[in-house]
Amino acid sequence: MAKETKTGKPLPAVPFLKLPEDGEPYLEGHKCKACGAVYLGERSVCAKCSARDQIEPTRLSDKGKLYAYSIVHRSFPGIEVPYVSAIVDLDGGGTVKGNLINVAADPAEIPFDMPVEVVYKDALGRKDKDGNSYVSYFFQPAG
């Protein structure tokens, strides 16, 4: 991490969030060639079909649909509430969890299967102990 600290560039909040030098951020899945299972993060053996060395990186879609969610009113100290914890099925495969933003924290305003898009922004100002900034992903209603 020492190297990145020196460049001063923000880091990805999770390893499966990719920040290419020359391109837009995206989420990376890892897909089993044998059975099609999609993972977030690298691995050598497939948890679904046990095939070995069949997993390849794949770029996940920035579009998806809201599968389920909770409106979180109590969290750990220092975490701003309420927020919407959302589970989103991305178009073409891969399910990702994150904050759903730009919606009212009201179940009446959050229909299941709502189309959402993935957006990339600063990680709510959170920094690591070395002072690095981070980029995270968020969901918002598809515009």
């Binding site: 979180v72 994150g98 904050n99 299941f112 959170r126």
Partner: protein, 381 residues
Amino acid sequence: MSDVYIIGVDMIQFGRFPERNVANIGAEAALLALDDAGLSIQDMQALYCGNLGQANAMVGQRILQEIGQTGVPVVNCANACATGATAFREAWMSIKADVNDLVLAVGVEQMGKGLLGGGGGGKGIPKEGLLGSATMPAVFAEAGMEHARKYGTTFEQFAKVSVKNHHHSTMNPKAMYQIETPLDTVMNAEMISYPNTKLMCSVNVDGSAAAVLASEKKTKELGLMDRAVRVRASVLTSDPWQERDLVMPDVNTCTRNAAKQAYEMAGVGPEDIDLVELHDCFATAEILHYENLGLCKDGEAGRMIDEGATALGGKVPVNCSGGLLSKGHPLGATGIANIFEVSTHLRGNAGARQVDGAKIGLTHVIGLGSACAIHILEKAA
């Protein structure tokens, strides 16, 4: 192969005992269960101990150091919220294997305070509240909302689970809380993670429960068949791969798999079950498990709670003890505590909360990560 019986079983009243240690809390339930069987620790051939918080701290052996250091084999098991049930099942297994005749199983937990899950650690920055929530109330809220998306289950229906279980607890002197909570009280309590309010979350408590298991031969030899409870099925599962696994723990599939296997092993169906203690770690979860356990058809769980079918006096009373929502949820103890509850009904000793004529009962626990255990129990004589 011959059957295995529970010939002694008990639990302490759940509560908070910060000044005691975990072995001492476990020892108390062990002595109660031994007393219930009219036996001594010196009679036991093995001890299986379930504890999560100090899983590597030889809690089983320390229980023996408290009540009788007999030199028997001790196995310490940990399996999230299925920890106690796993210890019980391994005890059962050792009798099935004809290695033991008389075995003690103890589940015990001394809990910390506050929210479970989402603690993080790891590198970089904290993820809680940034990538959604990993707290347990939120995780089980999301599982409930998956049910809502499929069947239109409402906040009110989820809340009714707490009303029912809190009501049951008023008849259980071993419950941590014994307080009626009307529907508006439950719904207007502090919202933790929609749709789970504070009164729809299980209670962090310390506690212990224990059971003495015996072979058929030994049960007869001891003349205890009249108070014995037969273990008709003992099943453990983990979660098979599911596409949303990585972000949404699936409490349904492993429960369905375990239920199917348990009914098969017992040779009974859901229609034969007189009462159920199931894993109501959150009110939302109980609704899912009505369907997962086959107590109703898929999509009918909401109606089931509306109609009172799972309340005491209903078709199949669920969580007569008050459940984890009111009795409390000391993780490692929970699995054996619900075996105590069902056994107590089968023996006709459940007092005001007795399910009349109960002959067969089912216990269920599920821990994330995942482990689901189901036991089907039957009055022996």
